[in-house]
């Protein structure tokens, strides 16, 4: 039975062929193929991880942007409110200051009016005194001994007139 009795020549050549095949493939092909396949598997794994991570980051960034936007809106509203408040304050202040200023002006005016009034009163009094003296001099030329006594008398009378008024 030829099939069951291994032929030496065939065994020999099979051995040689297999060893050659093994040496060639083990040296130049298999390690490279296995390494490449593993590298690619790693690359794909990394790619998937990276994609997931970047998606998470993107989601995160969106949330962050939204929160920033909300914050900015809040700030804007605050600023607007502050501005309105400040405006009102300024208007209020300006109004107060204007009132004070006006009061000052009117007070000054009153003071000057008062002064002018006093001045004019003095003037009038003096002139009235002069006129009265002249009149009295003319009326009572003989009775009046000294100038001084005459003036005191007139003043006394004038004071009486003033207090009556």
């Amino acid at each position: 039975m030829e099939l069951f009795t291994p032929e030496f020549g065939l065994v020999f050549w099979m051995f040689v062929a297999f060893l050659c095949l093994y040496c060639i493939l083990a040296k130049w092909a298999w390690p490279f193929i296995i390494r490449s396949m593993e590298e690619r598997a790693d690359l794909i794994d990394k790619g998937v991880a990276y994609a997931q991570e970047s998606k998470a980051q993107l989601d995160n960034a969106k949330a962050q942007a939204e929160s920033l936007l909300a914050e900015a809106r809040q700030q804007q509203a605050d600023i607007l409110r502050d501005a309105a408040k400040m405006r009102n304050q300024i208007i209020e202040d300006a109004r107060g200051e204007a009132v004070v200023e006006a009061k000052k002006v009117s007070d000054a005016a009153l003071v000057s009016i008062e002064q002018a009034k006093k001045e004019s009163e003095k003037q009038i009094r003096r002139e009235v005194g002069e006129i009265a003296l002249q009149i009295a001099e003319k009326v009572l030329r003989k009775n009046v001994s000294s100038d001084q006594a005459q003036r005191e008398l007139v003043d006394k009378y004038l004071n009486e007139v003033e207090t009556k008024n």
């Binding site: 020549g9 065939l10 065994v11 298999w30």
Partner: protein
């Protein structure tokens, strides 16, 4: 519709084959005697020279290399395949050394020289080895050229198989040792697969029944045997020579060590016989189915032979399809079992069971 047309065409072809056979058999009636056993062994066995399709007597000559008593002889096989004696060598026919190259002595007796001829099987081994190299290097070159891009077409198929064998089989079993043993196991897998599939192809570059030849599977099994035992750890040898069994089983009569040592040899022998028997069986079934045509036609006439053609072709086609599956399965089984045996030899000392 398409399926129906295909079926009709197939039926017509088979019917034509049956009719053609019947006519031919009627024509040559009684001129050929069929010897099934001889035909089967001729097809399963080795030969000097490679038969080309449809021409039984035309063979591609192959070199004969033999060392006879008077030294080395080296010539093309076409000088002896016709039955001639060349340089004292001829192909013997008869009980002893049937179909083998023999040296003819002066007294007419014959003896077998040291025969290292490139026979049909050896040539087929070389063809298969070259094919494996071409396939594997196509994958390698793809990676070299295209880097990380996924391969396409045939290369993708090969890569799928490499990935299946390496990532899904070798790595889970061998773990950190896998880079060391993967080249051997992958080479074995692809070599066996190629030899199996090439054996199924009937015409020229294929047609040699390689893995169905005990010599071929024996070489593979012996190499696996050495790989297993040369990578055995101290623990592996301890488990063989001084296993963890009651002292009575190993001390006066080394019964367990004997069984373990026997186990060392039965593992590769099982690998060898499994692959051989599966592949040879597949080939033989197809051959027998084909021969049934001739046997029946010889027994019952050409018409019955013609009818048998239909059934034989259908069953042979089915068997060949099955053998294609078996080719892959057997290559895979050889590889995975070798992997498991290697992993068993790489056993590390485990904690002592209480």
């Amino acid at each position: 519709m398409k399926k129906a047309i295909t079926a009709i065409i197939a039926l017509v072809l088979i019917a034509l084959a049956a009719y053609g056979y019947m006519r031919a058999a009627q024509h040559h009636h009684g001129t050929t005697e069929v010897n099934p056993k001889e035909i089967i062994y001729e097809h399963l066995g080795d030969a000097y020279g490679w038969e080309i399709p449809f021409a039984h007597d035309v063979r591609i000559p192959l070199p004969i290399i033999a060392k006879a008593d008077d030294g080395w002889h080296c010539f093309m096989s076409c000088r002896v395949t016709g039955g001639e004696t060349y340089e004292g060598l001829r192909i013997n026919h008869g009980e002893q050394y049937n179909g083998k190259l023999v040296q003819v002595h002066a007294d007419g007796s014959v003896s077998r020289p040291l025969d290292l001829s490139i026979t049909k099987n050896v040539a087929a081994i070389v063809v298969c080895a070259l094919l494996v190299i071409a396939m594997v290097f196509s994958v390698r070159n793809w990676y070299r050229k295209h880097g990380m891009k996924a391969p396409r077409r045939g290369t993708a198929l090969l890569e799928l198989v490499v990935d299946y064998v390496y990532t899904d089989t070798i790595r889970p079993i061998l773990g950190k040792h896998s880079p060391k043993y993967a080249p051997y196991l992958l080479t074995v897998f692809f070599f066996i697969l190629t030899m199996n599939l090439m054996g199924l192809m009937v015409i020229f570059p294929g047609g040699a029944n390689l893995t169905g030849n005990l010599a071929v599977t024996m070489v593979l099994a012996v190499i696996t045997f050495f790989v297993i035992n040369l990578s055995g750890t101290r623990e592996y040898w301890k488990e063989i020579l001084w296993p963890d069994v009651p002292l009575g089983l190993k001390c006066p009569v080394p019964m367990m060590p004997f069984i373990e040592i026997l186990g060392m040899f039965t593992k590769p022998v099982a690998l060898m016989v499994r692959l051989f028997a599966n592949m040879m069986g597949g080939h033989m079934v197809v051959l027998v189915l084909m021969l049934l045509i001739f046997i029946f036609s010889g027994m019952f006439g050409a018409a019955v032979g013609g009818a048998t053609t239909v059934f034989s072709l259908a069953f042979a086609l089915f068997m060949l399809a099955l053998d294609t599956l078996v080719s892959f399965i057997q290559a895979y089984v050889f590889t995975i079992l070798s992997t498991i045996f290697i992993s068993m030899a790489l056993v590390e000392p485990h904690g002592h069971e209480a």
